[in-house]
């Protein structure tokens, strides 16, 4: 019965999203103004899945024996699909690298500094300030420091993700109830063993919440980094479209990114689900 109920909830949710898509379509009929000839202010779905999707062919940089769009390859659904696929893969690569590096360093460093109460407090205070720095507004600084190539973007994403995971570890360790640690100690566990058999598992639920937030932040960071200077990726599609007022292309990219974000959040939750079967 519970299962069928949550199934019902999901159906209502899907219906609500469909209704939202319908409202969009309705708006496209009500506001037919165009910014650029042929590009409506509110691009309806019939435009988005045809002309807009085709136009992604323009971002094809060549490969598989198909020359780049700039070399005169005519737009086609096949090329548009390849273009979307490879630009997405570029963004995925940066995001995945940044997420793993930043998350890994943040987690390890957080644990290392939490081995002692003193080091935890020592980094905790400046961390509060560093976390208050607006991440996305720091993109120009990171470009200056690490360049606008892949390296700079990965470092930026890693920083955004790393700060979140690091903070969650630093905050979570002091909150682990002392009774669990005491219990392990009275059973004969050494300090180190208590740390990795009691403290580390106990903070994982909090790290999971942080990781889910970090996925969202990671997408924003990846897009932002690409937006402010990349030769490929979804962010570059957005910035190139914006420059010419192609709202429809931006809209299509937004829909694609929402789907990607949902999938990647689900993946991270799945990953933690195994570790947290007890919780």
């Amino acid at each position: 019965m519970n299962g069928s109920r949550s199934f019902n909830d999901r159906r209502v949710g899907v219906a609500a999203l469909l209704a939202l898509a319908l409202v969009w379509q309705l708006m496209s009929v009500l506001f037919p103004m165009e910014i650029v000839p042929g590009v409506p202010m509110v691009p309806g779905w019939q435009v988005v899945v045809t002309r807009t999707f085709l136009s992604l062919s323009n971002f094809w940089e060549g490969g598989f024996g198909i020359p780049a769009a700039s070399a005169g390859t005519p737009p086609s659904y096949g090329v548009a699909f390849l273009s979307l696929l490879f630009n997405s893969l570029d963004t995925f690569r940066r995001l995945a690298l940044g997420f793993v590096i930043g998350g890994g360093i943040g987690f390890a460093l957080g644990l290392l500094l939490s081995l002692s109460e003193w080091s935890n407090r020592f980094v905790g205070a400046p961390l509060r300030f560093i976390r208050a720095l607006p991440l996305l507004a720091m993109i120009p600084l990171f470009q200056l420091w690490f360049g606008i190539a892949d390296f700079g973007m990965v470092v930026f994403i890693a920083y955004g993700v790393g700060v979140i995971i690091f903070t969650s570890v630093i905050n979570a360790v002091p909150r682990v109830p002392q009774i669990y640690r005491d219990n392990a100690r009275t059973l004969g566990a050494s300090k180190l063993r208590t740390f990795y058999t009691v403290t580390v598992p106990a903070i994982l639920p909090e790290v999971r919440s942080a990781a889910v937030i970090a996925v969202g932040v990671g997408w924003a960071a990846a897009l932002g980094a690409e937006y402010l200077g990349a030769q490929s990726g979804l962010g570059r599609i957005v910035v190139a479209s914006e420059a010419f007022g192609y709202l429809d292309r931006m809209f299509l990219t937004a829909v694609v990114i929402i789907v990607y974000a949902a999938i990647s959040t689900w993946l991270v939750e799945r990953g933690f689900a195994r570790l947290l079967r007890w919780a």
Binding site: V12, G13, L133, P134, A137, L141, N171, R175, A220, E242
Partner: protein
């Protein structure tokens, strides 16, 4: 008779709490802050060209705080950092009020209505996932480069966060309080003002605090993408001319103001919800 005040409660929630590690003035934490400044200084010695020293940044801040004639070279008004941060703070406040009100209203409305909840949850989730780098240009093209657009963009994200917190707050409020109030004679109006509002306040305020922390960065970005004033606009103009010490100034100012207001809000929350053990301090 044990009529003395004890902090002990014999409810299941009385599992031993972790000992708080932070005393009022945390000397160790203070040392950490000093160490951070030291690292910064060391970095500036090494990478002088791209990392200005703390002193350089402080000088720049002092010189251009009230008015900054050099800004005119970058094509922006010559008002100083103060004007930029005040403009951004104004945008943030308006977004918090508009987005917060919408988030609280929809969150409370959906908390006890399953059908409405399963309909609105995915919509708010979707809204919250739209990357600001796409949402911002959309609103700017629809409504023009105006303060309204800048505020609306941030308000959307504030609303999605506050929505989730408000909904959970009322959803988790034990029905025993409402039943008890009813048996004591409370009517619907009293149930709302005396039970639901105070009972959900800590979690809603916690959500507002988290939304506020994010709002500064979002406001800066929306200004960076399309505005004539504000911290984001200054960053954008200066980034093009590679003025690192000025970028540092704006970022630090944003960080300091955001951290200060966050601390102030934490204080207000712990006062307003003095009855609550968590006191709003544990919302991270």
């Amino acid at each position: 008779m044990n009529a003395t005040v004890t902090a002990r409660r014999t409810t299941p929630s009385s599992s031993p709490r972790p000992v708080r590690w932070r005393p009022r003035v945390d000397v160790v934490g203070l040392c950490g802050v000093v160490a951070m400044l030291g690292v910064w200084q060391a970095m500036s010695v090494h990478f002088g060209r791209v990392v200005p020293s703390p002193l350089t940044v402080a000088n720049e801040m002092a010189k251009n705080f009230i008015s900054a004639p050099t800004f005119r070279h970058y094509g922006i008004a010559d008002a100083g950092y103060l004007d930029a941060i005040l403009y951004t703070a104004g945008n943030v406040s308006m977004s918090m009020i508009a987005g917060g009100a919408a988030g609280i209203a929809f969150g409370l409305l959906t908390a006890r209505r399953r059908l409405l909840r399963s309909a609105l949850d995915p919509i708010f989730l979707t809204l919250g996932t739209i990357p600001i780098f796409i949402a911002a240009p959309f609103l700017l093209l629809w409504f023009g480069i105006s303060r309204f657009s800048a505020v609306a963009i941030v308000a959307i994200y504030v609303a999605t966060i506050v929505y989730a917190y408000s909904q959970r707050a009322l959803y988790n409020l034990s029905p025993v309080y409402e039943q008890y109030a009813q048996t004591l004679g409370a009517d619907d109006r009293r149930l709302f003002w005396d039970i639901m509002v105070p009972g959900t306040l800590p979690e809603i305020l916690g959500g507002l605090r988290i939304a506020l922390a994010g709002a500064w960065g979002l406001a800066a970005i929306s200004e960076l993408i399309g505005s004539q004033r504000g911290a984001g606009k200054v960053i954008q103009s200066l980034a093009n001319s590679v003025d690192v010490k000025a970028i540092f100034c704006v970022l630090l100012l944003l960080g300091v103001v955001a951290a200060a207001i966050d601390a102030l809000m934490a204080l207000v929350i712990s006062r307003v919800t003095a009855w609550n053990r968590a006191g709003g301090n544990d919302h991270e």
